[in-house]
Amino acid sequence: MSPGDLMEMLNIEHLTKLFPLKKKLFSRDQQYVHAVDDISFKIEKGKILGLVGESGCGKTTTAKLLVRLLKPTSGKIYIGGEDIAGLKEENLKKFRKNIQMIFQDPYESLNPRLTIHSTIAEPLIAQVLYDLEKIHDALEVVGLKPPEGFLFRYPHELSGGQRQRVAIARALVIDPIFVVADEPTSMLDVSIRAGVLNLMLALRKSFDLTVLFVTHDLAVARYMCDDIAVMHNGKLVEIGNAEEVIRNPKHSYTKALLSAVPIPDPRAKRERIKIREEVV
């Protein structure tokens, strides 16, 4: 069975990541931060799951675990049926073709010294698949036309929105089956954001991509995602269909989060639910 046949593209089981805290001088116990604490979820083929939560909740750590920029402390990560959680670096190269990531910062995720051509060529070269055609196609598909006009420019010559499109092109050029997008539009201007979000939705359709969309913005998550998972302090507190979670949140944290989101409508009245969290 090839990865393309499975209904579940991504399956996380009891994923945990602990970071050691600096040891106090005379203590014998090692303390840990539970950045990701025993989370489990699945994403079906072709769906977009939104991973939402506030800063420090573990969503970015989860994203990095899925692309193996970090090694899990325990748990399983099944991508296309294979568990990559325990794989050693040497064996990961094969799987890197299937999993790609789009980063948050359009200014930092492109090497300033490489041309756009070289940036997009890197994954192809690494996977021994170099083909100029593919680079042309990738640029066209993300709306950077004509491709020849962009190939030999440098990142600093492009706008934030264009750079993010290059980042998307780079992620898709090796035909991954699963993409992790880590807050891909939060550093873009609002009027540019819509364009990039719509582009991602269109690409998901044309390429039948499975996506984990990490964001702190619930409104964007609602717009982009089929399902939403809410994280808090390393744990998964709620998961379900996007509209359901937004309209009928079950967990108290989700309710608090939703009630805090500002609405672009002066007439909206919201119930404020204050969480007794560390405020003072």
């Binding site: 609002v190 540019i192 979000l197 913005d217 409104a219 009630s259 805090a260 409508d265 003072v280």
Partner: protein
């Protein structure tokens, strides 16, 4: 007096190695007693520059090229730095973006605010200390926290401390420049609430600068929309949302997804904001406007009253 702040035809530019950047161009509006005005726009639209103009906290290479800023009956544009020092913090105060940078890491937070008060008001340190305690309670911080250093505060706490500092000298006017951008949504919600309550309680006027129209919708009575250094629309909040007139405002409204209401398709605005080194001669939104016509390319539209209380700079709509 009803009008506390009036801006008339304000223009400001920066000198860069590549030439002069026209950051604020021909801006006029006024804020009345007790009002909270929102200033919304994207990066590079001039909203932060406008805020800096009013505080006269301009960098070396920037200068106000024309216009008046009439605060409390006086035009502050010609005032000297010494005169401005008296007005700042007392008359007009500012809550900066990226609050972490506004606090000195080697001094206790409480002491920093006390310093600010003592520098402006002729009161004893002990009185100032009492005042800071009251301020802390006002912004939702425990007064014992006055003894801590900035790094011992969380992001939300630091922002509250910055608000306390901005209020320390009982200003008449507060400019809040993206005060919650770096904060989580729940903390943001609390801070926005806090600011709104304080504004009403102390009857101050406020200018709230943000790129986030949702936040502005919740906090402000009037909204001014800026694009590429120009004011392109100004209206009462409800009026603006019920009936946005300028094509850019309409485009901006449909770029914000919401968690309420039916899911609507976001419509992106094609193109990029203009290079302010060489702004287009006519309407600055012309290249990206779907309603544009010849006259838009040639002539800058005037900022005039289109309906009662609703101002607009657009050839097509007026």
């Amino acid at each position: 007096m009803d009008t506390v702040l009036e801006i008339k035809n304000l223009g400001m530019s920066y000198e860069t190695t590549e030439g002069s950047v026209s950051a604020v161009d021909n801006v006029s509006f006024r804020i009345m007693n007790g009002e909270a005005m929102g200033l919304v726009g994207e990066s590079g639209c001039g909203k932060t520059s406008l805020g800096m103009c009013i505080m006269k906290l301009l960098p070396e290479n920037a200068k106000i090229t024309n216009g008046e800023i009439i605060f409390d009956g006086e035009d502050i544009v010609p005032k000297t730095e010494d005169e401005m020092r008296m007005i700042r913090w007392k008359g007009v105060s500012m809550i900066f973006q990226a609050a972490m940078n506004a606090l000195n890491p080697v001094y206790k937070v409480g002491d920093q605010i006390i310093e600010a008060i003592v520098a402006h008001d002729k009161i004893k340190k002990e009185e100032a200390r009492e005042k800071v305690r009251d301020l802390y309670r006002l912004v939702g911080l425990s007064p014992e926290r006055m003894e801590n250093y900035p790094h011992e505060y969380s992001g939300g706490m630091r922002q509250r401390a910055i608000i306390a500092m901005a209020l320390a000298c009982d200003p008449k006017f507060i400019i809040a420049d993206e005060p919650t951008t770096a904060l989580d949504v729940i903390v943001q919600d609390e801070i926005i609430d806090e600011i709104k309550n304080i504004q009403k309680k102390l009857n101050m006027i406020m200018m709230y600068i943000s790129h986030d129209i949702s936040v502005i919708a919740e906090t402000c009575d009037k909204i001014g929309v800026m694009y590429a250094g120009n004011f392109i629309e100004y209206a009462d909040t409800f009026a603006l949302f019920d009936n946005p007139l300028h094509p850019y405002t309409k485009a901006l409204m449909s770029s914000f997804p919401s968690i309420e209401g039916p899911k609507k398709e976001l419509k992106p605005v094609p193109g990029e904001p203009p290079n302010l080194l060489n702004p287009p001669r006519g309407c600055r939104f012309y290249p990206r406007c779907s309603y544009a016509e010849e006259i838009c390319r040639k002539e800058r539209p005037e900022f005039v009253e289109s309906e009662s209380g609703h101002f607009l700079a657009c050839h097509r709509v007026i």
